[in-house]
Every structure is written in C-alpha cells, then in structure tokens.
C-alpha cells in the first residue's frame, strides 16, 4: 500500500516540478544570453492565468479539438508514472515498460497532430505534418537506444534497468555511451528544443510544435503547455536516472528518499545547464536538415546495439 502511495506521490512530484525545470532552463538561457530572467515561479503563474481564462474556439472545432488537451495530459502523466523519479521497485513500474511509455508519447502526439488539422488552417496542418515526420524518424532511434539498454539489462522494465546499472557499478560500457548520446539527440528532437524546433517562437514558418497548438487558448492551452513541460522533464529524468542512477532510492525509507530527491534535483539542474548551453551555442536547423540529425541518432544507437552484441555478450 505504501508503495502505491509512494508511486502516486512520485507522479505528483513529476507534475509539480515540471514547470520549475522549464523555468530553470529558461533562467540559465537568459544568463548565458545577457538577458534578465523571469522569476522561477513564472511558469506556474502562466499556468494559473491560462487556467482562469476563457477558451476561445473556432466555430468548426470538432470533439477531437476539445478532447485532445485532456488526452495529451493524461497520456503524459501515465508516461510519468512509468518512469522512476526518486525510487525504483515501485509497483507502478510494472504496469508499463519503456516501450509502453514510448507508446504513450505516440498516443499524445497522434492526438496533438489531429488537433492541429482540426480547424483547417494551413499552420496547423504544416505543424502536424512536420511533427509526424520527425517523430517517424525519432521513434526508431529512441526504441533502438532503449533496446540497447534492454539487452544490457535483459529487461524492458525501467526500474529493473536502473537497478541493473546500479548493481553494475561504475564501468564504462561502450553500448551505454552510444545509447546515451543517441537518447540525448532524440530527447532534443522529441521535446522540440533547438536545433530541431524552437520553443520560444510563434508565427514563423519554421515552427513545429507551436504551429499545431496555435488555435488553443485558456485551460486547453494550459494543459498542453503543462504536458510538454512534463515531457521535457521526463526525458531529463530518463537520461539522468538510466545513465547516472546513483542516489536513487532502492528502499522506501525516509532518508534514502530524501537523498534521492536531492540527487535528482541536482542531476536535473546540471542537465538543464547543458541544455541551455546547447540552445545558446547552436542555431535552429533547416527542416530538411533534421532527418540527418535523427539519422545520426539512429546510427549512434545502432552502433551501441552492435557494440553490445559484439563486445559485451560473451
């Protein structure tokens, strides 16, 4: 029972901390670019403001348009349930393994792309088309990186994978290194960060994610924004906890949970700094350069898998 409560509170923690992580990345970016940063609580204020506003909807919006924000939020939260944030061996980890988690992201993306096409504006269709194309290339790369992990730990259960890496101690496995690099590239593409997409722009012909949600407002927009913040943090936690799992709680006592919390906050802060640094140094790519970027991710993950097969299985 306590395990289930812990799992539930872990998911809540995901939902609550996600805006803070976004704020952190923004703050570092502002510092790096010599701008004054908004307060760390600004994303929460934005969400509150959006939740209290009217929804403005086009006349021909269908039920898909109304349902999509809820489906996206539900699917992203479900994915968050499957990812260990501060503790492994929780019962919820068995509900969905890492392939199911990718499935939840795909479900959210499917509906987001449909909602983009619902009103019948050119921007929406453009965003949907691009999002689905990029996802079509990013998903195999992501699954391949995951498969490498799964074969190393001989399990697709995230909790088991993390326990395995922990038990393995500090060894440098070439397969995990390549999988890590690949997963970073995929994470950047999937969460719509520079150099694949720019989360800070509206109304450019280059936008992808923002083009799909252009027609959204009020609580619908709030839910979508919140979901994409959770998704960003999810990828961060995924990378941090799989490849650098040290600190995560293996037992459910208060001390190790506290240590785990501090550890994950520290790891995320560090990851946020690297993300902001990357976004400051790099420029956004042309759309048709993105496939090359994702093929690089795919190649890295294939190399990781092959190096596992050739070098590590005895």
């Amino acid at each position: 029972m306590i395990d289930w409560l812990l799992a539930l509170s872990q998911a809540m923690l995901f939902a609550l901390l996600a805006p803070l992580f976004t704020a952190w990345v923004r703050r570092i970016k502002c510092w790096l670019q010599n701008r004054r940063s908004p307060a760390l609580l600004q994303p929460y204020r934005d969400l509150r403001r959006l939740f209290s506003k009217h929804v403005v909807m086009a006349h021909n919006a269908s039920i898909i348009f109304r349902l999509t924000p809820y489906i996206i939020a539900a699917a992203t939260l479900l994915a968050a349930v499957a990812v260990p944030l501060i503790a492994v061996n929780l019962p919820t980890a068995a509900i969905a393994d890492v392939i199911v988690m990718a499935g939840f992201f795909a479900l959210a993306r499917f509906f987001l792309a449909l909602a983009g096409m619902d009103i019948g504006t050119a921007f929406g269709g453009m965003g949907s088309s691009r999002e689905m194309t990029i996802a079509a290339l990013a998903e195999p790369a992501m699954l391949m990186a995951i498969f490498t992990l799964a074969m190393v730990a001989s399990s697709t259960n995230l909790s088991t994978v993390i326990s395995h890496v922990l038990a393995d101690g500090l060894v440098l496995r070439p397969s995990l290194l390549f999988a890590f690099l690949s997963l970073v590239l995929v994470g950047i593409a999937e969460t719509g960060r520079i150099p694949v997409d720019n989360p800070a722009t509206h109304l450019e012909l280059t936008m992808i994610h923002e083009a799909m949600i252009l027609e959204y407002s009020g609580r619908h927009l709030a839910l979508i924004e919140w979901a994409s913040q959770i998704k960003l943090m999810l990828y961060g936690v995924l990378i941090a906890n799989i490849f650098f799992p040290w600190g995560i709680a293996e037992t459910a006592d208060a001390l190790s949970l506290a240590i785990a919390f501090i550890a994950i906050v520290f790891k995320l802060m560090l990851l946020g700094i690297f993300l902001a640094l990357g976004e400051t140094v790099l420029a956004k790519m042309r759309l048709f350069r993105v496939p090359a970027f994702l093929v690089l991710a795919l190649t890295l993950s294939v190399i990781g898998l092959l190096s596992h097969i050739i070098l590590e299985i005895n």
Binding site: V55, A74, A122, T133, A135, T160, L305, L306, I309
Partner: protein
C-alpha cells in the same frame, strides 16, 4: 463436447444457400436484405462459435465428406489453429453481413446485377471456410481455387470501368501463379509422404534440400496471396476496385487465409524448421512492412491507401513469423512460441481494424461518392459515428496503447529483444535491424493514419458533395461499432487472448508460454515479470480515471463561470476568412516523408506554371501533380517480362515452318520419351 458432422456441414452450407438464394435477387432486391446477407451472418456466427469452441477446448476433430467422386473423400479437420482462423473469418463475415444490406442498396439501381454480388460473396466465404478446414491437399486446392475465382468475380464486379477489368485480370493471373507454387509445394510433400492427406505429408521423411524447396514454394505461393513484396502488386490494384465490404473481406480475411496456409505448411506439415528460413522470412517481412507503409503514406485514394497498409501489416505478421522460425530453428522453443503468438495476435488484430477501416471507407465513399482524400474534409461533424469508429481503427492500426495493434507489436518487440539467447553473431545483428524496421514502420503508420483521418474527417469540407454528406444507416454504423469494440477489447484484455492463442502453439509445436499469463488476467508478462510486463486493464483504468478527474474538475468549475467557452472564427492572420482551399492537402502532408524517402519510390512530379500576362517571372497559378507508381514494376516485373520475351524469341526460332523440321522434333521427342521410360 464434440462438434457433429451436421453442425459443421450447416456452417459450410449456409453461405452456399445464401449464394443460391441471391440468384433470385435481380427481380426482388429485398431478398438480398432479408435473406442473403442474414444467412451469411448466421454462417459467420456459426464459424465464430465452432472456432471459439475448438480454440478454448484444445484437441482436434476430423471429419470425412464425399461431395464428389465416391472414392475421393474430402478430409476435413478442426484443430486450434483452424479454429482460430475460423473465428477470425466468422467475426468479419458477421460484421460484413451487418454492413452489406445498407451498402448494397447502392447497386440496386445500377447496371450490375445484384445476384452476382450475392452469389460470389457466398461462394467466397465457403471457399475460405473450406481452406481452413481442409485436411488434404486435394480439398485444400479445390477450396483455394473456389476462394480465388469467386473473389476474382467480385473484383471484376464493376467491370464497366477498364481499370477494374485490368486489376481483376492481374489478380487472377497472380492468384494462379501462386496456386501453382502451392500445388508444387504440396507435391513435394506428397511425393515423399506417399499420399496427399496432411497426415501422410506430416510424416514425410524430407531431407533439408527438399524441405527447403517445399518451404520456398510455399512462401512464394502463400506470399503471393498474402501480398509480400515483390509479389504484392495485385493487391493495391484489386482491393480498391472491389465493393467495399468485399475489400474488407479480402484485406482482413483472405490475406489471413494465406497466412494460415503458410503457418500450416511450415509449422505443421514440414515441421522441422531450419533457422535460415526464418531469416529469409524476416528479411522479406521487414522489406514488405517498410515498403507498404511508405507507399501507403503517398496514396491519396482512400482504399488504395488501406490496401498498401495491408501490405505493411502482412509484413509485420511475417516479421513475427520469421522471428518464430529463427528461434525454433536455433532451438529456443519458448521464444519461437512467443513469436508465433505475436504473429497470430497481429493477424487477429489486423483482421479487426482493417475490416473496420474498409467498412468506414466504404461508408464514406457510398455517402459522398468521393474516394480521393484531396476532395474530402470535415466528415467527422457530418458522420459522427462513422468518424468515431474510424478514429478507433486509426488508433488501433497505428499501434497506440491501449488498443489492440499495440499489444501485438509490443509482443513482437519483446520477441526480438530476446536475441541474446542466440549464439550466432549474424543472427544477433539481423534481428535487431528487423526491430528497427518495425519501429520505423509503426511510426510511419501513425503518420499515415494521422494524415488519413486528419485530411478526410477533420478540417473543412473541400467539395460540395462532401459538405452535404449525412450519416449512414443503422446496420452500417453498428457493424463498425461492433468491430471497434472488439479492437478495444482485444487491446485491453491481452492476457485472455494470449491464453487462447497458447492452445494453438501447444497443439502445433508442443510448447506453450507458461509465464505469459502466470500473473493473472491483469498482467501480461511474455517471458517473466522481471523481463517485461504490461497491464493493459490498468492502463485503461488510469485513462478512465484521468478523464473522470478532468470531468469532475470541469463540472466543479463550471458554476463559477470560469469554464466558459467562446466560439469565434479561426485565426486568419488578419486577412480574409479561411477557405477550404487554404488547408493543408494530403499530398502536402506527406511531402517531408516523400522528400526523405523519395529515392525509394518512383514518383512523377508535374509542376505546371501559368505565368502572369504582364510579369512573366511571377506565376499566376501553379498546378502540382504527383503520380506514384509502384517501383516494383520497374525493379522486378519489367526485367521478368523482358526475360520472358527474350526466352520466347529464342524458343520461336525452332518454328521454321518446314514440315521436315517438325517431323524431326516429333522423332527426337519420341526417342527421348522411350529412353526415359526404359
């Protein structure tokens, strides 16, 4: 409990009776609605009941019929594998018989006789039932031909159109080349086994070479029917031109009959599989899956798109079968069973969602008289039920949780991930690559079906017909609802399904997955709970809970006036109002994919620019046309045709026209024959 001879015979005769009754339908069209299709539906229900009975009970039962010559009996046998496919056919036949009365009204006032439609539909269903039940090569081939020929007439049903006739001829030709290969494959087994019943064939002592030859012939023959690349070309031609409920039957069921034949031949009759066959099937399956989905992505004809997507799904099924064969061949029996279960599960799933999608497409085409995606739009608000069920079909086929397509693909991924237990280094590298292809395929399929649903059902209607479309009749909607419900159930209750499929693998191979269902109906754990687990019911529950929470929040906030919604025009950048022509088109949607993968496909792009009268550099209007031609025509068929032509020219040289030469030929033939005989 045994199934009696008469019950089985009733199941087979009901579709025949419906076929014969249909002959009277030209003078009284009401017969179709009240007798022909209901009889077919009862036949479907009987198929479901008997299939489910034998599938859940296990064991097998043989029957003997002598319909023709007294000394030539037909051996029929019902075992769990046959029961599974009987169930699959029965479900789709039932749904189709619910759908068809409303759909066939369209033909009541057309030039085509209704009787032909009813007659061949009945025979087609009988043929498929018989193929599944046949326990000797003779009955199998006769039933196979009944199935192929009757479906030829159904493809050619609207024969006024020259393209339809061409498609039907192509189908007939390829069906017969395939049948020939199957016959030869059976011939090898019968030759060594000393008889054409499946029992004797099973016992045939084959060495590896002959077994491989039989396997290769079977792969070619059944692959031709199933639509494996490169022998798939008849499929995207023939499926779109048949009436839609027939397309559903062909795509969802007939292809599965071919899969059944392949499984029967390889796992049951040949039995002792070699791992290299698995690799061959795996490679062909991967190519088929990727090729199918790429072409599906580029189609603008709704039914053609679905036909190419069938090619893709057959590829996925064969990836599962290839994995299974590879694992069986290398002695990993449990993993082999897992692959087989995954392939069978996907066969069932594909039957459900593909028939659902074809029935939905049929409804759309019947109501709007449009089949081109570029002319549709906004159908969801005009036909809400069809739209909702079509969406469920799209979600299922895109392999998204918690629907059924996801479970079977998940199982295939789990099978592929166990590659570590194989010792050969080459296999270890090949299998993960097949898994990448599967991942790419399923991601592209999601893109393809977002495009299909988004362009056809969302946005604004692009033509006048489509703007005035109304929802279809009750039977047509209910049949889709029935299939959509099954898609959800198969997705949410995977443990029960896997348990049922386990009987098949046990009866075929003697192995079953003990661990998969060991943790109760909530948890699906293919190998063990440590390796992977998925709880579809809990996922469904969580989604429902989330929605309940949102609904609660909505109703709590509503009285305070905070949840108000304002309706207004869509944002138009401050210019004039949006017109339907400003929407993204289907071609535009797939343009990035076309750019990335364009080199694989044979595309013909025509850009026509009409310059402005005063300013030549500016275009007044631009016309873009894209033609997609199956590259296999150029890569595979044209070389074959050229080769045949060259061979024919060579052979033609002996036709000198002189009598003495012909006498010489006869003489040489005679001597050769005498030499052979002695």
């Amino acid at each position: 409990m045994e199934i009696s001879n008469s019950v089985l015979l009733t199941m087979l005769l009901l579709p025949v009776a419906s076929a014969l009754l249909a002959l009277a339908a030209d003078t009284k069209p009401a017969i179709m609605r009240w007798l022909v299709f209901p009889l077919l539906g009862v036949g479907g229900i009987m198929g479901v009941l008997q299939g489910a009975h034998i599938l859940l009970q296990g064991g097998s039962q043989s029957f003997l019929f002598s319909p023709g010559l007294p000394w030539l009996h037909w051996h029929l046998r019902l075992d769990p594998l046959a029961g599974f496919f009987l169930l699959l056919i029965g479900i789709v036949v039932f749904a189709v018989s619910l759908f068809a009365p409303g759909y066939a009204r369209e033909f009541e006032h057309s030039k085509q006789p209704l009787s032909v439609l009813g007659l061949f539909t009945g025979l087609f269903v009988t043929g498929m039932y018989l193929v599944i039940l046949a326990d000797d090569a003779f009955a199998f081939m006769v039933a196979w031909e009944v199935m192929s020929l009757s479906s030829y007439f159904l493809v050619a049903y609207q024969h006024q159109n020259a393209a339809n006739r061409r498609a039907a001829l192509l189908y007939l030709l390829m069906a017969h080349i395939g049948a020939l290969a199957i016959l030869l494959g059976f011939g090898v087994l019968a030759g060594f086994g000393g008889g054409f019943t499946f029992d004797l064939m099973r016992a045939a002592p084959l060495n590896l070479t002959w077994a491989s030859i039989a396997f290769g012939l079977g792969l070619l023959g059944f692959g031709m029917k199933a639509g494996l690349v490169p022998v798939h070309v008849w499929l995207p031609e023939a499926h779109p031109v048949a009436p839609s409920h027939i397309s559903a039957l062909m795509s969802a069921v007939m292809l599965k009959v071919a899969v059944y034949g392949f499984i029967r031949l390889t796992f049951d009759l040949i039995g002792n599989v070699h791992w290299s066959w698995g690799v061959a099937v795996l490679v062909i399956g991967s190519i088929t899956a990727l090729y199918g989905v790429l072409y599906a992505m580029l189609q603008t004809d709704m039914k053609r798109l679905l036909a190419y997507s069938s090619v893709e799904n057959i590829g996925i099924i064969f990836i599962g079968l290839g994995l299974s064969l590879t694992f069986f061949g290398t002695g990993n029996h449990l993993l082999g069973v897992l692959g087989l279960v995954a392939a069978l599960y996907h066969s069932l799933n594909h039957a459900m969602f593909k028939s659902l999608l074809f029935l939905g497409a049929g409804t759309v085409i019947q109501r709007s008289h449009e089949r081109d995606l570029e002319r549709m739009g906004g159908l969801l608000s005009r036909m809400p039920w069809t739209g909702a069920f079509f969406l469920i079909g799209c979600i299922s086929i895109s392999a998204l949780p918690p629907f059924n397509g996801f479970v079977s693909e998940w199982l295939i991924f789990q099978t592929a991930l166990q590659v570590g237990s194989i010792h050969s280094g080459v296999l270890r590298a090949v299998i993960p690559i097949a898994a990448i292809v599967l991942a790419l395929t399923s991601a592209l399929a999601a893109a393809c079906f977002v495009r299909l649903f988004g362009i056809a059902f969302l946005g604004q209607p692009r033509t006048r017909h489509v703007r005035r479309v109304r929802e279809a009749g009750r039977g047509m909607v209910w049949s889709q609802g029935f299939l959509a419900l099954l898609c959800l159930l198969l997705g949410v209750l995977p443990t029960l399904t896997v348990e049922a499929i386990n009987h098949i693998s046990f009866s075929l191979t003697g192995y079953k997955l003990q661990a998969a269902t060991a943790h109760g109906w909530l948890w699906l754990t293919p190998m063990s709970a440590d390796i992977a687990s998925y709880s579809a019911p809990l996922v469904m529950l969580a989604i429902l809970l989330a929605f309940a929470a949102w609904a609660l929040m909505y109703f709590v906030m509503r009285p305070t006036g905070k949840a108000n919604t304002v309706h207004t025009d869509a944002w138009d950048c401050g210019f004039g109002p949006l017109t339907p022509r400003m929407q993204y088109t289907a071609t535009a949607f797939s343009m990035p994919v076309q750019r990335i993968f364009g080199s694989v496909c044979r595309l013909q792009e025509d850009i026509e620019r009409l310059p402005r009268p005063h300013l030549q550099t500016e275009a007044e209007s631009i016309r873009y046309q894209l033609q997609v031609e199956d590259s296999m025509w150029r890569w595979f068929y044209l070389p074959v045709v050229k080769l045949l032509h060259a061979a024919a020219r060579r052979a033609g040289r002996i036709q000198s026209g002189h009598l003495r030469h012909y006498l010489l030929y006869s003489f040489i033939t005679l001597i050769l024959l005498l030499w052979l005989v002695t």
